[in-house]
Symmetry: C2
Subunit: 224 residues, 2 copies
Amino acid sequence: MAKQEEVILLDFWPSMWGMRVRIALAEKGVSYDYREQDLRNKSQLLIEMNPVHKKIPVLIHNSKPICESSIIVEYIDEVWKEKAPLFPSDAYSKARARFWVDFIDKKVYHNGRILLYTPKGEEHEAARKEFMDSVKLLEGELGEKDYFGGESFGYVDAALIPLYAWLHAYETYGELKVEQECPKLIGWAKRCLEKKESVSSVLPESLKILAFVQQMRKRFGLDE
Amino acid sequence: MAKQEEVILLDFWPSMWGMRVRIALAEKGVSYDYREQDLRNKSQLLIEMNPVHKKIPVLIHNSKPICESSIIVEYIDEVWKEKAPLFPSDAYSKARARFWVDFIDKKVYHNGRILLYTPKGEEHEAARKEFMDSVKLLEGELGEKDYFGGESFGYVDAALIPLYAWLHAYETYGELKVEQECPKLIGWAKRCLEKKESVSSVLPESLKILAFVQQMRKRFGLDE
């Protein structure tokens, strides 16, 4: 029945959290109704579906909302389990994957935001250092593997690859050289884009993200 | 074989994150070697087992470390799945339980720390408001149920109940009246303590936590 598979995604195109959900849905081949949200003028639907945080992404599956991107991706993997498993099956590898996604959210994305939207100074410099330390740790965790998930694309890959669309902006405002310092990570990102349509179909162009960041910085009074 | 079940917990007695792991282990009836950590002089073992964050709790199961309390509890539930399941079986209820634990970590425990260890002022006042709003939301989520998990004690219960040991300290330094404003939550906490040995055997006395907080405040120069 059609109702059994009513899938709606409330999202905002540049969101790294939204992208990971869109990638997971693409991996599973789930069709959905994408509804772009205006975050400066939140829709009644968004407020009703995520009354606690009022944030995107929200997945609405048969009228039931699921919030918080990493929780949504776990949900997607459990519900559409036949195709493209995103998690390893043993409990220890699963815990490690969860550990790295939590790390990405706390260390990489958190510091990335500071790099883009705070003026230079102590806080910016501390974020710059922690951001680089964090991507280097991820470079080490990847090692010689094709994907963080090993031979196949998985949960950590889906969670981290949106970073690649933002990298040019981070490098610009953080004065970083991730491309030079983390060659394995860059190789992995290019591999994901080349081999996974779920990624190439979702990731926006770096210059589009840069233009978005420039617009936000003007709004925050950081640039003229 | 004995080696199959070598379980070590690196922990620190007042930790709310540590307590939730100890409660989960008690629910499952898992015996383990508890190793109290000195967080001002971190052990080589802690640094080796959690090189990324160097934080407790760390569960070491057959020489393999698992870090981050909510990830550890999920691991425990998956490995020792025969007894006392902490998660509901359907994907949607599981996602909701994860959502609330994430909320507890981000809103309740985060603001609780500010209440205890920052001087009065704007930040303290904002944390006070968000802390109360958050516990009221949890009161609403509990509703008329016996436990957050419904009829049986589960993941959200194990994650939130350590708060009760800290409540006296929060009420003291946050000038809050949680006991008066959230009668259902207090009823739930008392029920957990009365009916669950996993909880009563783990939670330290409120006055012991208060004394610990007083000592920390002196160390931070907040009190004489």
